[in-house]
Symmetry: C2
Subunit: 547 residues, 2 copies
Amino acid sequence: MTRSWRSQQDDRAARLAIAAPLARGKQVAAVDTTALLEALIRPHDRVCLEGDNQKQADHLAQALAAADPARLHDLHIVQSGIVLAEHLDLFARGIARKLDFSYSGPQSGALVHALNAGTIELGAIHTYLELFSRYFIDLTPRVALIAAVSADTDGNLYTGPNTEDTPTIVEATAFKDGIVVAQVNEIVDRVPRVDIPGDRVDFVVEAPTPFYVEPLFTRDPASVTETQILMAMLALRGIYAPYGVRRLNHGIGFGTAAIELILPTYGESLGLRGKVATHWALNPHPTLVPAIESGWVERIHCFGSEVGMDGYIAARPDIYFTGRDGSLRSNRAYCQAAGLYATDMFIGATLQIDLAGNSSTVTADRIAGFGGAPNMGADPHGRRHVSEAWLRAGQEAGDVGPLARGRKLVVQLVETVGEKQAPAFVERLDSLDLAERLGLELAPVMIYGDDVTHIVTEEGIANLLLCRGADEREQAIRGVAGYTEVGRKRDRAAVAALRERGVIRRPEDLGIDPLDATRQLLAARSIKDLVRWSGGLYWPPPRFRNW
Amino acid sequence: MTRSWRSQQDDRAARLAIAAPLARGKQVAAVDTTALLEALIRPHDRVCLEGDNQKQADHLAQALAAADPARLHDLHIVQSGIVLAEHLDLFARGIARKLDFSYSGPQSGALVHALNAGTIELGAIHTYLELFSRYFIDLTPRVALIAAVSADTDGNLYTGPNTEDTPTIVEATAFKDGIVVAQVNEIVDRVPRVDIPGDRVDFVVEAPTPFYVEPLFTRDPASVTETQILMAMLALRGIYAPYGVRRLNHGIGFGTAAIELILPTYGESLGLRGKVATHWALNPHPTLVPAIESGWVERIHCFGSEVGMDGYIAARPDIYFTGRDGSLRSNRAYCQAAGLYATDMFIGATLQIDLAGNSSTVTADRIAGFGGAPNMGADPHGRRHVSEAWLRAGQEAGDVGPLARGRKLVVQLVETVGEKQAPAFVERLDSLDLAERLGLELAPVMIYGDDVTHIVTEEGIANLLLCRGADEREQAIRGVAGYTEVGRKRDRAAVAALRERGVIRRPEDLGIDPLDATRQLLAARSIKDLVRWSGGLYWPPPRFRNW
């Protein structure tokens, strides 16, 4: 047998040898980064250019985008986020061709253009945990270009609070004989803590500027509307309270920000402190500060950090996961797993929802990707531990008898009419048109209707667990769809019957007067209020500071 | 506000101060281990005493079991495996009271006794990934007692090939201001690679003997039966081939071992090399060696290692994930995630299956736990990437139209009559009786019927994807249940109609003559054959060496 079983090791050694003259030990000067990448990367390589939900290896992105397409071409990019302009430049210049990713917030429009123009060959749009999983099976990066706060000369890395995807990317790459290059803000004698051991890191570049972090999870309380407050009251009284939801994840919209902001006011008046919302899989949302300070929260595990929250987090180690250095240790892979398997509820907003409860955040000309919502908003059939909330949801779904199991609560917050007066309830999701136009094999559905348990609108709550059959489900959805066309086409008798059975619950059924849904209920009504709640520890990004 | 936000840090510092006199730096002598644990642990603490699927922190287990119950009592044990006698001794002596776990192979009988006797208060039986997830939400260990091969004086740990659960346990504990104690086989100047950075480790004990590893995944080809070979042929021809299953996980029984052993023979004759079974989430099964050597396998990511396989793995780095030191890097959390989200098929044996396809490996007097099967044997609703196998399974399930999605293949291998002539097909699972007797809130079901796509017996394959409704499903199951009572009660006309539609496929429908299912088809017929295939690199444990 003449087959080599060490071809990856040999190939790696050959690449490292070519790159070696550029480095002193593991250090490479920033002016040489493009040369380094041209030495280390080969055409058709699978490359992860760390673009997370928040943290961006922006120097390495610029350096790769500046490479010579005659030397580096047809790369297969496998990374969470397509966030920077450089990420798309790679494709425009022919350096990269194929793309597997999860999220593309700011580039969601440009991405559709690139797909239409044929400059990107799309692999798939994943959820985070799903893409990470494929790193270990069939999408293992050959080269990983990552970002950290500091490194020592052995290559030990300190990520700071935004650890995020880095340990997962590095584990998949380094232990499959791939190559790991880190950009860091500074090289130091001793890192404050070791987030990534140096023997998994091949090269370190001190970047000219600190890596970019996107403040994705900051919601200004000033923008929370009274409709959102009403829906937050409905959710607390109609879902959190009866199910006793203690372990949960919140989406990132204003709807869940409103819930966070009325915990210390309306939630307190319901006597829910300590009974709901105690254990979280959540980024460090500034809007949760008043609830934390009011003693609602026991523990939060984070996917990443949030710009401006680091000082507050470091001062609240009983709540957050922190390192010996005192700062947050986040971890997207573990937090996504926790959101899937260890929480009883996912609640988040959506843009569009159809008559079966399928939802999408895709609009006709943007692909924002999936991020983590489909993972957290799915009922995990592998779950085998019980909780009060989970068992009750299962019982409501009619799962009784010796084989009865529970259900995860998956709640969608939807204002019946969205931006530009577009109805949120539709007969057909816009994403289906986009899928057809782009020839996608799978329509971009954020959460499938069979996993959704409740829909909350300003008109009330539809409890889909209690629906028996597709017809009841449709009428329950129409019954909270307000004055949209879907809502107006409801069968009034059927909807009345569903309300009679508690499938649909109006504000008055829950003892809520919509007139009470005022901004007075918000524990903080501005970013400045949040700063005050934090005792000055929260330091919002400049764009949110208007005082 | 007088609340302290650093109570965990303060508590940790107080405990470390008490323990400090026992240590030189981070090192503690093995004679002092019990004293160390009595200094570090408090009554009612949540403790993870690393008991993985394979690797056992046995010295720390003995030391904890020898503690004074007047000082240490009512601990809450949160760990994957209840494997050693000492794990149960903790409860018998009152040192521990509550238990949350995943797997209890060799102690499954003793565990039922302890539950019956009331010495254990059961939290829940989890799947691995689910328990890991809860470490970050509501079951975070206060103290983690872990095992590694070696440590340096800074506490950097080398786990060797059995990395398994360690990184996950340590991350949850160390970053929540918990305490981490490691037993190691030796203390060295420099570890071969850093699996766990030293700043996450508080104390290191050089154990008197190397930690115990259970050889869980070694199946002697000599014990593979012709019935299992027939079922393996059915699976390859009826499932692997038509769906083109490239990414998969195998269970640990003889049924899947038979499949592994006929890949280079029967599989080769079907022309399937390179077309199926190329990418794996799998422990290093010795029975896969012939297929690897024959060029079937591209890549394997492992949950843990397997006794005797380390030399072979180190010589095949193109196949396995290995570190710079040359040895395997396994990781149970990542591999379980990969098994959930990045594979298209889980195939494994089960002991009992009911008329709806629900299965269980629980017998009346044993609780073996769940391990990973329910996780990998579940259709993940959060999946958003397509593959040929996944799409085809979805289409067969009737999922068509613009919102069509795929399905994971979940295949159960069942000999119709099991050990002691007990029928594998039953009207009611034995586990339901056990659940009632022990008052469990959830019956121990390994895989729920609604996730099962195929059942393979020696009588044929039932494709449950093609069944429409519970009645068809029941008849499809009866139709492959052989001469069991469930099988004999089949509606012959209905079964014939299902066979006509291809829902049931007999060996002859697949061009398989059962007389061809002989041991001649096994690429290796003994452990010695496996050693030969490995070029002498596989070194089986003594109990498997009989030559």
